[in-house]
Symmetry: C2
Amino acid sequence: MPNVNPRLTLLKTHNVNPRHTVITCSDCRLNKFCLPIALNESKIKQLDEIVEHNSSYKKGDHLYKKNDNFKSVYAVHSGSFKSYTLSYNGNEQVNGFFLPGEIIGLDGIANGMHVNAIQALEHASVCEIPFSKLESLSLQIPNLQHHFLALMGKEITNDKEFHNLLSSYTAEERTAHFLINLSSRCERVSLSPFRLLLPMTRGDIGEYLGLSLETTSRIFGKLHRKGLIAVNNREIELLQMEPLLKIAGCETE
Amino acid sequence: MPNVNPRLTLLKTHNVNPRHTVITCSDCRLNKFCLPIALNESKIKQLDEIVEHNSSYKKGDHLYKKNDNFKSVYAVHSGSFKSYTLSYNGNEQVNGFFLPGEIIGLDGIANGMHVNAIQALEHASVCEIPFSKLESLSLQIPNLQHHFLALMGKEITNDKEFHNLLSSYTAEERTAHFLINLSSRCERVSLSPFRLLLPMTRGDIGEYLGLSLETTSRIFGKLHRKGLIAVNNREIELLQMEPLLKIAGCETE
DNA sequence: CGCTTAGTTGAGAACTCTCAAATGACGTGG
DNA sequence: CCACGTCATTTGAGAGTTCTCAACTAAGCG
């Protein structure tokens, strides 16, 4: 597999033809962070048998929409997605972003129907895992059951953290937290944690953080003036992590 | 089992000696909404064997604290609890309330350690379900696995809905949503959906909704002046559901 | 090269917060 | 049983943060 420059990968994965990349979990560069986490070679093979690898989506394409039947969860293989609902007055409300190695679709498990819509932010590809097959396989592989529960538990933990963020952090704190969070998720999949190429608009970020797009833009400007980040359109460079972590409310001891 | 007046149950369950109530899931008045949901009689017996029934907590007692080892999840049998973390500056941040039939402890699954603390809001009792035993049993009872996944999925769905609430709703909308949500959860366990006896303070509600306690109080006053609710300290009566649902952003078609 | 979408910046308005004080509920001990 | 202290709630006034509206600039795409 070609070794893509991490600094450019986030926006540029569409230069890599998915067909030329891996087609099994066993060979996937992401298998340490993705669903196969903690499975041994033979179990990964079992998982591979139920996974449909690498469907590809163009920017703006929907993976699914609100009220679609829930059949599968999806692992992001390349590119990125946003999750959103429509609020009561018809406004779009972004409530999540998904990077490579992350699992999409948990919003459908409860009722057999998706409550969010998922849209590609750039050219992207996913691996589809039919949920009923995943359930059956989980009955046979205790480790898989355990890790899928842990995955959902992690989602819940993150959501609670986000609850705190929205209920008591200022615009600047939320924005710093967003950047730090994105940075660590990039690092996890071997992208540069210091140079982020945002796949989403200021409006998306604002909706996600409960801010207006103008405020989001102003806060980027403010952090820039403080010398903590460099902003060049969608390219954000994190220049001083310590103060950023402090603003974001992350313990740095 | 004595038929407690629903209107008084929420705050008054401590009048019912837990020892005189059920001691097995099979007999529990909550078994239709709680973990045994969708299990048949024989499966419930299997579940009963791993559940430790009815430990009792006084108001202010902790079920667990932040960073405690995760061993079990808990089903609320009577009374109510709040979940909170401490934010970076040491402030308490409430991020959940739990009523009878609801499951506490999912915040520990991801890392084997709880990220929240859980405190009783009134005299309360829980049934403890050791998680490793629940996992083992889930491997044997597909339905149990399925419903525990659904339970976690529901938590995720709720959290996303709450994300939207915090990121785009006004104080009044959030407060109305809170009341409507509490009302439907009370109804679920045969408490009156129209007359709520809040076990939590205005401060708790404010932290939960991302508002100051003063604002929470003012909004209660405002809804009262509009004739939508009656407020008598912790006792809130929902007088006009339609307008409340509308303010809360719930579809009423 | 022009159109459309995205991002920046400014000014005033609106909402919610903080600080402060007063009232009310509740539990304890005299 | 009452007095007291504590905690919870209400209410007011002013301050701050963020939003909305609007105009302008920049970037992407045919």
